[in-house]
Symmetry: D2
């Protein structure tokens, strides 16, 4: 079969690889019908994720049709259309038993990382019962593929960790895919204000259309002060860090109110300075997290009920066999005004 | 001054009474500018609330302008426009310290009940610092007066006690003012479905316009079964009881799913049968409560941000001195299609 | 092999039955080394649980050694000593994913109920990975067998549902095994007072020895009043109902304070009267539940750390092949001063 | 009257000052009967808290007898014996309404800081109704004075912020007064292990006697590794930072398990490095906080019930007029093996 293969830093190819087969009674083989590219895939291509070895099929997001299942699989069967979670959960270890699937003893983020991923014609999904979700006949695949990773990430690691509650003032720092997913899911929790911060005016315009009540230029040197003034000097209830660099972290710690929360979603490459000599007295909470994807069923139900529109994130579409072109586009996301680039078989 | 006075069962009058004066350093005297009538006021007039003595000025909802304050009052001063909470909180007893103002040792629901109320030209508000909320210059009084009682009740006792969460299926039994307040505030918590049950088609039509995703005729003998079927036999996550009779309680206990919640908001006149021989095994939670009005600041902020429209509840308007006519209208609420009847000075 | 078999109302026998075999790749066969009898087993023998068919091997509590496992079992292997949960959890359905194992779509309470149970030389445990817990080499089997059902029940359905918090006043109604398990685990949550109510003086004496700070005779006609007086008229923060008859429920609803919780653990045979005409205003919470056994790992850790002594519940010991005698003793628990009767192979 | 007065960095005196008088209707004047010295008082004397002006009476902990109250005070009256909270709460601002008294708009930590404090014969307590707690006739003053600050701090900022739950593994870094208060109150929440870390062997011995299940030498260069090994490489559920320097913060961030919490109680003088490039993926929570003293009533009830022994912290006693000697002793706490130095009038 064909797949998008990592060939070492800076190198990728759409090439022939062996079609996966069942290796354990809990496995399923899924024929991919829809997949997409994550910012993390670009990081891998830059060589930033050393655990990914050349030869690895990339991708951890996808929708497809079950081709074959191991003897122990009960939730899905051949012919079922399923959503694949970016996080593989064995469902039986101590971490999975408390829904912390991100730290599954035998899974976690492995797809397109430690085992072959979803940007391929077929993929093997371990622990299929607890790592895939059966879709209804009317499910929109482009809407659903957004639940593999990005929407649960924004919702769980940004909104729920940040404890967004009715009437809260929320700032989301970073109007990229994760920031938008946080923006759209924060609206499920009744905030009075959701402000977004970014350097890119186009992205802030999208944010406004999607419910941001105010936007701010990240380049403004007085931004922290401006935000504090808008809150009578108190700061905001929730600051969601959706970038992952010291400057955005720093903005968050400068604008959080006493009793407020900083929910870190950004993937950081280096340590940050935590102004604890000022914040020890401020009764704040800081959270971090890799997504558990435990909210996939909730988000699916909200999409089905018409209460959440995830499909709007799909700005560009390619055939699966044009995966190389899709990467070209996504690698220039700002210029292409691309949010999520969808590939369909 | 003039006030609406209870004169014993079935009797009310708009008559002269003494203007209230400061009695304690924590009191404020408020000149009423907007008030409204609660279903409870009608119950009082029917003689159902024996603690209310003839001669009592009725009313526990209101907006007005502070005329005078006691020496210890700090939050408000003469000339301030304020929202009056239906619940008087001394702010210093053990119950108030945990925000259970409903059971304040020196307050609770006293206005228009144990002391003179708000359907008058002036009212004395004890513990004014913790029983009134200063309004901004742009505040809409008709929107705000809905926060004295009915919106906090729907939100706290219905929605928050019921733990409405993103993706939940919610049924609200009773499309009266409390039911609608629950409907509007439930939408702050991201449910996937909000279904409403009532006997009155007009009221259900309003519910649909205001966000109910489906409505049901309370007269349907198979209603519990119908609702269970719509949920694949499971039942709903949250059932909000907003009527207060055995039949509506019974519907709630028949439709709640394992792990679900029944939030009772209805004022009940008699005991109900609790099917614990069936429900002991169902992992359900039942809550009751008088409103604490602790969410008034949250709801004020949501109104100001344009995220909550409480004003739509005001269907009929009268001058304060036409309070008798206002009562006539509200007493025939179904026929008049009245939701809340507002009186303005 | 030999097993204790239900032969219809009032009839039980220790007799030969077929030894169980693996039927699904997620099964394990466990050789029982320690088991015990639950009050529910007596109810079955009285014919009160019609779903139990004659011929059924009884018992849902046990410790044993894994003999054989299906292909998909990963957590345990032959030779491992394991604790068996009274609740069988497939670990993959929607209810198991939120730890509501009691309502597992393919499990729940099935052992000794819908499938053969643990009072036998061998038992088949479906979904062994999520329905058994591996024991350490030093584990005391008599301490651990108490975690199959009774301690998680007292802790989850009584203490955690009742939200026992530091400084709370707690009443436990019913000093039977469930009441004692609630008593011992409530002490993990820092209450200031734990009062116990029962008719049996011996049982109350045990309660005192095990940490009850005060005991009350359930026969006292003024008991509710007495308890309210001891709390300055307020009532208690938490009332745990551990009997299951209308009178004990009624006591609970009479003694709960505003803002308090009633946690029902008792198995009720008929509906009760819920005094909602008085309680609607009292901000109370009532919970029900079948045990999920989700706290087994927590309780195991506490036993290992010496912080919880479950072993003291084992008052009588028999050889497994003397199961008939063990039942005779447990059926006269009050007279025999038996709490839990343990059978060891 | 006499008082302990700050006279600039390094200088203190027991001298005559004006006796305080009622300044607002919510004030009370309290005659001090028991007070104590906090580590913060030593910091003030070192000149580390510039907001404290020379001439300020020090002290924010105390028990005493009410001498006089303003017109609006209702909870206490002359002759009542009261505990004084280190945190002054007006009870009426938005922060106090949600029990975040530490950030009261008109109070917070002001005693012995921005207004005169408790190390004096008399003290003025603003907002006495919400800043003092009436004691029962049998209350032990030495036990109670520990509730002014240190025990609520350990409990709220360490134990509750750290979400210590039954079966948790907890490490407390720093066996000083705050660490011990955390140790004693953590035991109200059922942890399986409480480990303490300090450089001082004497202090660790005290910790062992008071319930630490294991102690560690903070000087061990491999300490983080040792602790991780003892937890099978996972780390601990809760790390309580009770020192306030970069090294102790760093230990905490190295030993916290996925899903774990770091509760900072230490007062930090400089920023720390937060290893977010490693921790972003670890699903941790970090909290900070100044004490709200909202748990004083809970802790009082636990002392009265004999469930919490705070009195053992009082190792040295002086007459109030020997306050200068008491400071001498406390300034050499390690050498004197002093924990809390109590002064009684």
């Amino acid at each position: 079969m064909k797949a998008l293969v990592y060939r070492g830093p800076g190198k990728r190819a759409w090439e022939d690889v062996d079609r996966p087969t069942i290796q354990a009674p809990t496995d399923a083989i899924v024929r991919i019908t829809t997949t997409t590219i994550c910012g993390t895939d670009l990081h891998i291509l830059e060589g930033d994720v050393p655990a990914v070895q050349p030869g690895r099929v990339l991708g951890h997001e996808g929708v497809g049709v079950v081709e074959e299942v191991g003897d122990a699989v009960r939730n899905v069967r051949p012919g079922d259309r399923v959503l694949i979670s970016a996080i593989t959960a064995d469902g039986r270890c101590d971490r999975c038993r408390i829904q912390m699937y991100s730290h599954c003893r035998n899974g976690g983020w492995v797809l397109g990382h430690l085992i072959d991923g979803t940007q391929a014609e077929f993929v093997r999904i371990p622990f299929a019962d607890t790592s895939t979700y059966k879709l209804g006949p009317d499910a929109d695949e482009e809407a659903m593929v957004m639940l593999s990773d990005i929407f649960p990430t924004g919702f769980e690691v940004g909104v729920l960790n940040g404890q967004v509650r009715p009437g809260n003032r929320v700032v989301i720092v970073g109007a990229g895919p994760i920031g938008w997913a946080s923006l759209l899911t924060a609206q499920l929790c009744g905030p009075s204000e959701i402000w977004m911060v970014d350097l890119d005016r186009n992205r802030l315009d999208v944010a406004k259309k999607w419910g941001a009540t105010r936007t701010f230029d990240a380049g403004d040197a007085n931004l922290a002060e401006t935000i504090r003034e808008l809150t009578n000097g108190d700061g905001v209830d929730v600051a969601i860090e959706a970038v992952g660099v010291p400057a955005t972290w720093d903005l968050c710690q400068k604008i959080v109110a006493p009793g407020g929360r900083i929910a870190n979603v950004g993937v950081h490459g280096k340590a940050v300075q935590f102004d604890i000599e000022r914040l020890w007295i401020q009764n704040i909470t800081v959270t971090t997290g890799l997504v558990d994807t435990r909210t996939i069923p909730t988000l699916m139900r909200l999409i089905e009920a018409g209460k959440l529109d995830t499909r709007r994130m799909a700005t560009h579409r390619f055939a699966l066999h044009d995966a190389m072109k899709a990467y070209d586009t996504f690698a220039n996301a700002a210029k292409e005004q691309a949010i999520k680039v969808v590939m369909r078989a």
